[in-house]
C-alpha cells in the first residue's frame, strides 16, 4: 500500500523531474577513433593566403623594381596523407601579380614611354599538384595532429584572365592615372614549378615560371619568373 502511494506520488511529481537541473552531462567520447580529416589525418584541406616578391635579374628580364614587384595569392589546398613522411595534394589558387616597371632609358615594355609610375597587373587562376615530404620525424615519424615540418615540390598551371597597365603621370603638379587593357602580348596560360618549406601552417614559397608569360613573338624579354614569399594557412 505504502509503495503504491509512493508510486502515485512519484508519477505525480515526476512531471517536475524533467525540470531538474542537469549540472553535468558527459556523452562518452570514443578516443580510439581516428578522424578522417585533420592536419595529420588521412585527408586535410586548408585555406591559405600568401604574399611575396617577384624577382629576376635585370639583364635577362624586363627591368622591374624588385621590392615593388609583388604577388598576393589565395589558395585552397587539399592534402592526402600516404604515410607519416609522404603526402600529395593539389591547390586551387588565385594570383594577383603586380610588376612595377623601372622607368629607364631604352625601356621597351609594355611601351617605350616613361611615366612617373608604371605597373602591369596580371591576375590568374590556377591549379597545382605537389608531393609533400615531412621531415624531422624520419626514423620514428611520430607527431600529433599537426602538419609538422615539410617540403612541398610541385607544378602548377595558370590561366591569365585579367591584365592591365596602370600609369601615373605628373602634369603641372597634377597626378593623372590611366588604366590600359587589351594587351595581346601575354600568353593566356603559363606553367610553373614551386617549392614550399613549411613549419605547420606557415611556409616559405618559391616558384619559377617554366613557360613565358609574354609571347615569344614579342621583341622584348620576358617578365621575371621567380616569386618568393610567405604563406599562412587556416
Amino acid at each position: 500500500m505504502v509503495k503504491k502511494l509512493i508510486f502515485i506520488l512519484t508519477i505525480f511529481t515526476s512531471i517536475n523531474s524533467f525540470g531538474q537541473t542537469t549540472l553535468f552531462s558527459l556523452k562518452t567520447i570514443d578516443f580510439s577513433k581516428h578522424e578522417k580529416w585533420g592536419p595529420n589525418q588521412s585527408n586535410y584541406s586548408q585555406f591559405g593566403v600568401g604574399y611575396g616578391f617577384i624577382v629576376g635579374s635585370a639583364e635577362k628580364y624586363i627591368n622591374i623594381k624588385d621590392a615593388n614587384a609583388t604577388y598576393i595569392t589565395l589558395n585552397l589546398r587539399y592534402k592526402k596523407k600516404l604515410n607519416n613522411v609522404f603526402a600529395f595534394g593539389f591547390d586551387i589558387f588565385h594570383n594577383a601579380n603586380t610588376y612595377q616597371i623601372k622607368q629607364i632609358n631604352g625601356k621597351v615594355f609594355p611601351d617605350t614611354l616613361n611615366h612617373f609610375k608604371e605597373y602591369v597587373n596580371e591576375s590568374d587562376l590556377g591549379t597545382g599538384i605537389f608531393i609533400r615530404i615531412n621531415f624531422y620525424h624520419f626514423n620514428n615519424s611520430k607527431r600529433g595532429n599537426y602538419l609538422g615540418n615539410f617540403i612541398d615540390l610541385g607544378i602548377s598551371g595558370s590561366w591569365v584572365y585579367s591584365l592591365y597597365q596602370s600609369t601615373t603621370n605628373k602634369i603641372n603638379m597634377l597626378k593623372i592615372k590611366e588604366i590600359t587593357r587589351g594587351f595581346d602580348f601575354f600568353n593566356k596560360y603559363y606553367y610553373s614549378a614551386f617549392f614550399r618549406f613549411g613549419i605547420d601552417k606557415t611556409s616559405i614559397f618559391l616558384a619559377t615560371r617554366l613557360s613565358n608569360l609574354l609571347k615569344s613573338t614579342n621583341t622584348f624579354p620576358d617578365l621575371p619568373p621567380f616569386s618568393l614569399g610567405m604563406e599562412v594557412s587556416f
Partner: protein, 519 residues
C-alpha cells in the same frame, strides 16, 4: 636580389634542419657479461619494497646498461645522455646519417628510435588566496581528520616527485618540517646532471606542497611525515622535456627506494593522437608501468584537456596500473571544467580517482591559489602515502584498487570523476554504514528514483549539494553517458523502460549509496 633571397631561403632551411643534433634512443640486444651486486646498487628501502611485493631482489631489467656498449656508442656519437637499465637503451645525439648507420650496424644494437619531447602540464596561478577555507577543505574533503586521529601522516613512505623545478623548497616555510627533520633525502636535476634542483619552474614547489606541505600549522597536503626524493625532469625555460628524463628519474626513484611517484606531467597532442592513449604506446607510459612492476605506486595527473580539442587524458595517465587523478571543483564538488575525460583509447576507466583541481599551495612567499590536475595528483599522492602507512601489508596493486574503492562515489564511476575523491575513513575502517538514501520504484513503464525523506535535507557540509549521479553502461561496464543532476524534488529521475534494451545497465548514486538497474 634573387641570389640574396635564395641564399637567405637556403640558409633558413639549412639552419632549421640543423637547429640541433638529432636525438635517438639506441636499444641494445643484451646487457653483456657484468657483475651486479643489488645490495650496493639499491637503497635498502628499494630491496625491502621488492621483498614486500614478492619480487626477486633483482632481475635483468635492474642490471645497468653494459658499459662497453655505452663506450662504443659514445665513440660514434656526438654525445650521450640517458642510459635506461629498464629498457636497455642509450640516448644519443648525432648530427649525421653516417653516425646513424654506423651505430645501427653495431652487432649489439637492436633498433634505433627517434627521441622527442614530453610536456609539463600547464597550470594557471592566481596570486590571491580568494578562499580562506580552501586550504582546509582540500585535505578535509579527503577525510583528513580520520588520518589525523590515527596519526597517519605518511611516515615511513618515500615519495619521489617529478617536476620542472623546485625553487624556494630549500627556504620556504611550507617545507621546513621536512627539511628540518632530514626527510628531503635526495635531489637530482636530470636535465643538467647535477644535484641542485631549487630553481626553474615553480610548478614543482606547488605540487610538492600539495603532497606534504604545511602552512601556518595547516596541512597543504597529507603526507607531512613522508620522506622525499625530488627529481627535476624539465628544462627550465623550455616548455618541453624529454620522455627519457622521466624514465631516468623513475629508475633513480626505484634505486633510491621510492614507494610512490607523484608526477604532474604528461604528453598529448604534440606527439600523439587520442588513439595512442592506450597504455602501450608512449615511452613514458611504459616507464610508468615498469615502475609499478617494481612495486612503486605511480600517481599521475589526468590532464587539463577537457575544455580543449584533445579532451581526453594524456600519457602516462593511460597506463592501466597508473593511478590517474582527475580534478574536482571545490565550489560544486564535481568535475572541474578543464579536467581531462576518460576512458582510454582501449576503453578502460580513467581517471581512476579525483581530488580538488583548484587548491591553495605554496607560493613564492606564503601561499597562493592554483588550478590544474597538477594539484589533484599530489593531493592523492599524499593521501596514498597515509593509506599505505595505514595498511602497510598491501602490495602496490592492492593499494591501487583500495584507493579506487575508497572513492566517495564507489562503486559508481564515470569518465569525469573515476570513483570520486578517496576517503580516509575507508582506510581507518571508520566508513559509515551504507545507508539507503533513495529507492527505485519499478512500475510497468518506468523506473522512478525516490529520495528518502530523511536524506532530502542534509546539513552535512560535504554533502549539502544534493548531487545525484547516474550513468548508462553496457553489460561490459563501458559507459555511453553520465550525468549529474541537482536533486530538487523527492523524485528527481524517471527512466522510461522503452528507452533501454536488454543488457543495458543504469547505475545511480546519491549520497554514498549506489543502485544498479539491469535491463
Amino acid at each position: 636580389m634573387l641570389k640574396t633571397l635564395l641564399f637567405l631561403l637556403i640558409l633558413s632551411i639549412q639552419s632549421f634542419i640543423s637547429i640541433s643534433q638529432q636525438a635517438y634512443r639506441v636499444y641494445l640486444t643484451d646487457k653483456g657479461n657484468q657483475q651486479f651486486d643489488p645490495y650496493t646498487f639499491f637503497d635498502e628501502k628499494a630491496l625491502l619494497r621488492r621483498e614486500h611485493e614478492h619480487l626477486p631482489i633483482y632481475d635483468v631489467t635492474d642490471l645497468p646498461v653494459f658499459k662497453e656498449y655505452i663506450d662504443c656508442i659514445s665513440r660514434l656519437s656526438d654525445s650521450i645522455s640517458v642510459c635506461s637499465r629498464w629498457f636497455n637503451f642509450v640516448k644519443v645525439y648525432i648530427s649525421s646519417d653516417k653516425q646513424y648507420y654506423q651505430i645501427k650496424s653495431l652487432p649489439f644494437v637492436l633498433n634505433i628510435e627517434e627521441s622527442l619531447p614530453v610536456k609539463l602540464l600547464e597550470c594557471s596561478l592566481n596570486q590571491t588566496t580568494d578562499d580562506n577555507n580552501l586550504l582546509t577543505k582540500q585535505t578535509q574533503r579527503m577525510g583528513s581528520k580520520y588520518f589525523k586521529e590515527k596519526g597517519f601522516d605518511g611516515t615511513g613512505i618515500r615519495i619521489a616527485i617529478f617536476d620542472g623545478g623546485f625553487p624556494e623548497v630549500n627556504t620556504h616555510e611550507a617545507f621546513a618540517h621536512i627539511r628540518n627533520s632530514g626527510r628531503l633525502l635526495k635531489t637530482w636535476d636530470f636535465t643538467k646532471n647535477k644535484e641542485f634542483v631549487y630553481y626553474s619552474s615553480s610548478h614543482g614547489r606547488q605540487t610538492f606542497a600539495c603532497v606534504g606541505g604545511i602552512y601556518d600549522s595547516i596541512n597543504i597536503g597529507l603526507a607531512t611525515g613522508s620522506e622525499y626524493l625530488l627529481a627535476l625532469t624539465e628544462v627550465g625555460s623550455e616548455p618541453f622535456q624529454e620522455e627519457e628524463w622521466w624514465l631516468a628519474a623513475a629508475e633513480w626513484a626505484d634505486q633510491n627506494g621510492a614507494d610512490i611517484i607523484s608526477s604532474s606531467l604528461g604528453y598529448g597532442h604534440q606527439r600523439y593522437f587520442t588513439s595512442d592513449m592506450d597504455g602501450n604506446t608512449s615511452l613514458v607510459v611504459k616507464a610508468a608501468e615498469m615502475a609499478v612492476r617494481k612495486g612503486i605506486l605511480v600517481v599521475n595527473s589526468a590532464g587539463n584537456e577537457a575544455d580543449k580539442k584533445w579532451k581526453g587524458i594524456i600519457t602516462p595517465s593511460d597506463g592501466d596500473s597508473v593511478l590517474a587523478v582527475g580534478g574536482i571543483d571545490p565550489n560544486t564538488d564535481y568535475h572541474i571544467e578543464f579536467s581531462s575525460y576518460g576512458p582510454t583509447a582501449d576503453k578502460r576507466l580513467k581517471p581512476n580517482v579525483s581530488a580538488y583541481g583548484h587548491v591553495i599551495t605554496a607560493g613564492k612567499n606564503g601561499i597562493t591559489s592554483a588550478d590544474g590536475t597538477s594539484f589533484s595528483c599530489p593531493l592523492v599522492s599524499g593521501f596514498a602515502a597515509c593509506a599505505w602507512q595505514a595498511k602497510p601489508e598491501l602490495t602496490v596493486m592492492e593499494l591501487f584498487h583500495e584507493l579506487e574503492k575508497s572513492g566517495h562515489l564507489y562503486p559508481y564511476y564515470d569518465y569525469a570523476h573515476g570513483y570520486g575523491i578517496p576517503q580516509a575513513a575507508y582506510f581507518t575502517n571508520q566508513i559509515n554504514e551504507n545507508i539507503e538514501t533513495f529507492e527505485v520504484i519499478d512500475s510497468p513503464a518506468f523506473y522512478t528514483v525516490v529520495i528518502k525523506p530523511a536524506r532530502f535535507n542534509n546539513t552535512d557540509w560535504l554533502q549539502d549539494m544534493n548531487l545525484l549521479y547516474y550513468h548508462y553502461a553496457d553489460a561490459g561496464g563501458y559507459l555511453s553517458s553520465s550525468e549529474i543532476i541537482a536533486v530538487e524534488s523527492v523524485s528527481p529521475l524517471v527512466l522510461q523502460k522503452a528507452n533501454f534494451k536488454e543488457g543495458d545497465i543504469v547505475r545511480i548514486h546519491f549520497r554514498g549509496h549506489t543502485k544498479t538497474i539491469n535491463f
